[in-house]
């Protein structure tokens, strides 16, 4: 028997037909939302913490790493298998275990989908604040792994601010709870350290999320501009005026055109840029916010200001924003979505560089992004049938990341580092910074069993038990 068949046999014994090695699963779980691709040899679908613990134990007995995975919507290759890990997919751990209104907490399993949780909470007057564009399909466990954001984290903060406690299976198989429901959990904030660690410090098996009260009033505005620079200047001026909208999103001309053709939301296709601004809270503050936005925008040559009259119109405006990525298929069959953050004041400068970079590499750039926190999401549209196009896409991506960092920005606002930006970490951190980060990671996983070879470049790692190389077809 090969080592793999022994391992597979042990997992079969544990999970029955929820341990799989068929071509369909192996193809499916070799990818995430990025263009990177690997190929696992075994996929497990546990239903509870105990099964996760046992899978980890079996993997360790067979000296094989493992990789926990949610819905696979990540865009940085964090869930792409390298080093031949056993995939632990949380799709069947999808129960909302408890809604505790007195503590304003819900305990959920990691496979619960983000929007399903919010739908469950809405009638109770609450929601889960992080709302990534993929919220219809992304899982809470994935949100924890990536410290996910979304349009509304401008006012409400990212996942870390909305998780009180996490039950985890540590890489050595120990089950423990990081954080608790009390005001100040004792000891160091391991919960905060774990969130955003992209599955390299263990596997979340239960999550206590904080419930945010639904705002009594909401106003959604669509502002159009004949010049994208005025739109960007409006963003900075709104924030400088002391207003933090619930969301402040921007779309450029090309994005407006494709989204409008796709959803017919009445977006002004003649505009150079639109801002989607949402204000929420108590009615007085919301109306005050509308006036601030209006007066700031008027000082910056705004065209029309459309205010959604009702929930239906509001949803239509958001539908355009949230479906923008899919709509790119109207111009090219494939796209590469980037994620960097720059100071708000540098938005225009970096956007102009993005267009120039795309031109230089003969690609089409579409920009739909969280302008309010300077979080750029340039989309490079391409056709993968074109010979050599991926090399151009990657070279352009690197140039965009470089331009963002030169403008005082960071590598990623919400997609994470994964494989995609692993080898860019040195653009932002010194070797000593990265060695310190790795020392902390090593405390959780000295042998590198949990999602190996992600986040930190191999040179900064003290140990790499599972090989250095990225599989063929994957790009770093």
């Amino acid at each position: 028997m090969s080592p793999d068949s022994k391992l597979f046999g042990a997992l079969r014994f544990l999970l029955g037909d929820r341990a799989r090695a068929g071509d369909f699963e192996l193809g499916l779980y070799g990818r995430d939302g990025s263009v990177l691709e690997g190929r696992p040899s075994i996929v497990c679908l546990p239903v509870d913490t105990e099964e996760v613990r046992q899978i980890v134990a079996v993997c360790r007995q067979h000296d094989r790493p493992f990789l926990a995975r949610g819905s696979g919507t990540g865009l940085a290759g964090g869930a792409v298998p390298v080093g031949d890990p056993v995939i632990i997919a949380t799709a069947k751990m999808n129960k909302i275990l408890e809604v505790d209104l007195e503590n304003r907490i819900a305990w959920v399993e990691p496979g619960v989908l983000n929007l399903d949780l919010t739908k469950e909470l809405t009638p109770l007057g609450f929601h889960f604040a992080p709302d990534p564009s993929s919220q219809q399909v992304c899982s809470i466990g994935g949100n924890v792994a990536n410290n996910s954001g979304g349009p509304h984290c401008l006012a409400y903060g990212v996942t870390s601010a909305h998780v009180a406690a996490i039950e985890v299976v540590l890489p050595d198989g120990t089950v423990t709870v990081l954080g608790d429901l009390s005001a100040d959990p004792p000891g160091y904030d391991l919960r905060g350290l774990f969130i955003g660690s992209e599955g390299t410090m263990g596997i979340a098996t239960k999550i206590a999320v904080r419930l945010t009260p639904n705002p009594p009033a909401i106003r959604t505005l669509l502002l159009d501009f004949a010049d994208v620079r005025d739109g960007a200047a409006t963003v900075s001026a709104i924030i400088a005026a002391g207003l933090i909208p619930a969301a402040l999103e921007m779309m450029d001309k090309r994005a407006i055109e494709i989204v409008e053709a796709f959803v017919n939301a009445g977006y002004p296709t003649e505009a150079d840029a639109v801002l989607l601004v949402e204000l929420d809270g108590l009615p007085g503050g919301v109306e005050h916010g509308v006036e601030v936005v209006r007066s700031v925008a008027e000082r910056h040559e705004v065209g029309n200001i459309r205010i959604a009259a009702d929930d239906e119109e509001r949803e239509l405006l958001w539908k355009g924003r949230k479906n923008a990525f899919g709509a790119v298929a109207r111009i090219k069959p494939d796209y590469y979505l980037h994620d960097t953050v720059v100071p708000r004041g540098k938005l225009v400068e970096v956007l102009e560089k993005v267009y120039k970079i795309a031109d230089a590499y003969d690609l089409i750039a579409v920009n739909v992004f969280h302008a309010g926190d300077g979080n750029l999401h340039p989309i490079l549209a391409y056709d993968s049938d074109e010979k050599g196009v991926l090399e151009r896409v990657h070279a352009a991506g690197r140039a965009i990341v470089t331009a963002s960092i030169e403008a005082g920005g960071v590598l990623s606002g919400e997609h994470g580092i994964g494989l995609e930006k692993r080898d860019y970490m040195g653009m932002l951190f010194t070797a000593h910074d990265m060695a310190t980060q790795d020392m902390v990671r090593e405390v959780f996983d000295p042998e590198g069993f949990a999602n190996p070879l992600k986040v930190l470049p191999s040179g900064s790692r003290c140990s790499d038990s599972f090989g250095q190389h990225v599989p063929e077809g994957a790009w770093v």
Partner: protein, 304 residues
């Protein structure tokens, strides 16, 4: 030069002061000096650099030396109508507040103070500078060591420079007091800034535009007051928010933060132990990040 911008000379000087050997105790404003126990007397005292180094109102971020006092920070931010809602003594330092890691009384609206931290530069046990986080308001680049440093009482590193998220100062701040049920108040108000309760009397802080604050105030059978009551400083217990209902109302020497779970008491509160599994990770973090135990010896974050 660090890729994340030039490291200020003050931070280099501080790193040299901490150096690679001998026990050191980092001193802030000594406003929460008792937390974690008294530091070793033989340790050399060091203080983090001071000064607000850059405030960008349109970015709503501020970068300062960790030794900057809250009053100096507030003064600078107020010039542009902004604040960092720490709610601690004005003589406390930014680094001290973060190292202790306890939020102020407006956490109900503004969240935990750790969520205001964007980037930290600290000096490690070798006297070397480490940067983590990023200067922008949103960032997930690399492991979040900032979270680990907040509440670490300087035992994993000495905070040298901090970049924080700022917030606009609300148009109106009003404190109200009376005898309403605090838990009912919590359920009817939309994101109040604070609800404090001593078992008999309640204090509520409402913030926002004046029309909203006035409208919410009229819902309540409460009277205007100057501000929060003085909070007992002897101890601070932390429980689940719903368990505040179980507090004994016969003895009102405490003040509780409704919706949060903090109770300020006259008597010292014993530090809660951590679980064995978490304790071994925490001890190993201390061993790895400060192998010789030279950073703030005597203080204890972890009780097993």
């Amino acid at each position: 030069m660090s890729p994340l911008g030039a490291v200020p000379k003050e931070v280099h000087q501080f790193a040299a002061e901490v150096g690679p050997r001998d026990p050191v105790t980092i001193v802030g404003g000594r406003t929460q000096w008792q937390v974690g126990g008294a530091p070793d007397r033989s340790a050399r005292e060091v203080s983090a650099p001071t000064g607000v180094w850059s405030h960008q109102p349109e970015e709503m971020t501020v970068r300062c030396g960790a030794g900057t006092t809250l009053s100096d920070l507030s003064e600078q931010l107020a010039l542009h109508g902004q604040m960092v809602p720490f709610d601690m003594a004005p003589s406390a330092t930014v680094g001290g507040v973060l190292s202790v890691g306890q939020s102020g009384f407006r956490r109900l609206r503004y969240g935990h103070i750790r969520d205001l931290v964007l980037q930290i530069r600290h000096v490690d046990h070798q006297g070397k500078i480490v940067t983590s986080g990023g200067p922008t308001v949103k960032n997930v680049s690399g492991y979040d060591l900032c979270r680990l440093l907040v509440g670490s009482l300087g035992k994993l590193g000495c905070l040298a420079e901090v970049t924080l998220r700022c917030l606009p100062v609300p148009e109106t701040t009003r404190w109200l007091t009376g005898t309403m049920d605090p838990f009912e108040l919590y359920s009817i108000l939309y994101r109040p800034s604070s609800i404090l309760w001593n078992g008999k009397q309640v204090w509520v802080c409402l913030e926002g535009v004046s029309s909203d604050v006035a409208a919410e105030a009229t819902l309540l059978d409460l009277e205007e007051t100057e501000g929060p009551p003085p909070l007992p400083t002897g101890g601070r217990s932390s429980i689940e928010p719903k368990d505040l209902k179980k507090l004994s109302i016969d003895d009102s020497s405490w003040i509780a933060e409704i919706g949060i779970g903090v109770t300020h008491t006259e008597e010292p509160t014993p530090v809660r132990p951590v679980s064995e599994a978490n304790g071994s990770i925490m001890r190993e973090l201390e061993n790895r990040l400060d192998p010789n135990g030279r950073l703030n010896p005597g203080r204890e974050v972890v009780v097993l």
